[in-house]
């Protein structure tokens, strides 16, 4: 490899990766919603100042030169940045396919017209539920009616629309109504994303974990809906991995195709990786995207399989699932190099089944409701309380 790219010579060195095809920019942690299942870190209130417009534009140019092509603009709520249109315009000029991942709050007709003109390709709109009451409860806002209007605007301006609903114990029984809502709104894609337990969702895990019968019913409802759907609406059912016996191929392996930049400029190989102890992640204020991707220890550490322990190291499936999720291994077992305990070959798999079994008992009302902690909603105030 030429051009200052580190050449690995040691036999056990990490392999040289391909391009960071997926670039996710978390433009801000500011968000009008307060979702209890948000994957943002619970200590986000301690985060440093947001990158300036010019920093984001430089990140885009450097990443595109490396081969990034799918761009997600997220947060927080990306519309909280008043330079979003400038960022989209530059990304479009560079040839990115641009996905806006939004709660819809702040998307009025003036802005959606400007975003269309700037070259935005697609909008992913989140709902928290099919009912106003539950949507507004789960996001701790009154946003259901507004989101419905935004859905109509998205169609009016001819954007393809992905409707995203994060599923968990409190709304997973509404899958049928959610799918009907998406159909009415003309969504091209629906993402029924079972909660992945990181950030605020990890904090609220016991309250959000569905029971196995809830998950099975939701899968069955989705299957039946797919069969009778009258028009091409693609439904993605993101499986709740706690109920599986093999882990997800998280990020297709850390540092393989995905690169995210947090509001303060920290570059990470996955949304949640900042929690991993002992790793240093570079900041794009002082480090080029090329160095971030090819040379930083934070990105190189979990490439390849040299970091793996047993049972992963000798497992024939390691090329398929890469040992699962490093963050989940760390959260549940305390060691990020362990097998993701979702895998039933992991000696720690009992940690996962224990949580699932507790959810099952709660479903049968064997656990008094009074035992349950209240949901902690994502907010700067709660973040500061958790991390004074």
């Amino acid at each position: 490899m030429a051009g200052g790219v580190a050449v690995n010579t040691a036999a056990d060195a990490a392999p040289t990766p391909g391009p960071p095809l997926w670039l996710l920019l978390e433009l801000t942690y500011r968000c009008p919603l307060h979702c209890a299942f948000c994957y943002n870190p619970t200590d986000f209130a301690r985060s440093g100042p947001e990158l300036a417009t010019d920093d984001w534009l430089r990140v885009l140019r450097e990443a595109r030169a490396l081969g990034s092509v799918q761009l997600g603009l997220s947060g927080g709520e990306p519309l909280a940045r008043d330079d979003l249109e400038v960022i989209v315009a530059e990304a479009h000029r560079l040839g990115f396919y641009i996905n806006l991942i939004t709660s819809g709050v702040g998307l009025n007709e003036t802005r959606i017209r400007a975003l269309k003109a700037a070259g935005l390709d697609h909008i992913q709109l989140s709902f928290q539920d099919s009912s106003r009451q539950m949507n507004d409860f789960l996001s701790s806002t009154r946003t259901f009616d507004l989101k419905s209007k935004v859905a109509a605007l998205i169609k009016q301006y001819d954007f393809p629309m992905v409707l995203n609903v994060v599923l968990h114990r409190l709304n997973i029984d509404h899958v049928e109504e959610i799918l009907e809502m998406a159909d009415r709104m003309g969504a091209e894609y629906v993402e029924l994303a079972n909660t992945q337990f990181y950030g605020w969702a990890w904090h609220n895990r016991e309250q959000l974990m569905p029971s196995r019968s809830q998950v099975e019913r939701a899968e069955e409802t989705t299957r039946r809906f797919r069969e009778r759907a009258g028009r091409p609406m693609r439904i993605f059912f993101v499986v709740p991995d706690y109920f599986e016996r093999r882990p997800k191929a998280c990020m297709n392996g850390l540092g393989s195709i995905f690169l995210t930049v947090t509001p303060d400029g920290t570059a990470l190989p996955c949304h949640a990786a900042r929690m991993l102890p002992g790793l240093e992640f570079p900041n794009v204020r002082s480090v080029s995207m090329r160095e971030v991707w090819f040379e930083s220890s934070g990105f190189n550490h979990f490439r390849g399989d040299r970091w793996m322990k047993e049972p992963c190291r000798s497992c024939p499936e390691k090329t398929r699932d890469f040992g699962g999720c490093r963050c989940q291994a760390y959260l549940l077992t305390g060691d990020a190099a362990n097998a993701d305990p979702v895998c039933d070959l992991s000696p720690h798999h009992g940690l996962v089944t224990a949580v699932v079994n507790r959810a099952e008992r709660a479903d049968h009302a064997e656990r008094p409701r009074a035992e349950e902690k209240p949901l902690v909603f994502r907010s700067p105030a709660n973040s500061s309380t958790l991390f004074p």
Binding site: G18, P19, L21, L66, G67, V69, Q70, G72, G95, Y97, N99, D121, H122, Q124, P160, V162, E188, Y189, P232
Partner: protein
């Protein structure tokens, strides 16, 4: 749409929800869509980049045969167009 509605006189065009683009970093044409990407192999890319809604399948085939100094590509091109229509990467205009 079934393959019966596709003939050598059909004019294929990239489905409006997809974007075809050459990616030097991948040395390939890719189809981009919401939160996803399909990397095309060489011949798929060469066919798709000629699908502009104006050229017929017959004309696309002739152009490919000339570009690659070969003959007898019509079967392969037709098979690909049928597959791509099935996958909704392409639409065909009569």
């Amino acid at each position: 749409m079934t393959d019966r509605s596709i003939s050598a006189a059909s004019r294929p065009v990239i489905e409006r929800r997809f974007r075809l683009q050459w990616e030097a970093a991948q040395n390939a044409h890719v189809l981009l869509y919401p939160e996803g990407m399909i990397k095309l192999n060489g011949s798929a890319g060469e066919i798709m980049k000629r699908c502009d809604g104006k050229a017929t399948i017959a004309e696309i085939t002739a152009d490919l045969e000339q570009a690659f100094s070969t003959t007898g590509l019509s079967k392969e091109v037709m098979a690909f167009v049928v597959l791509a229509v099935e996958k909704q990467w392409l639409a065909v205009l009569p």
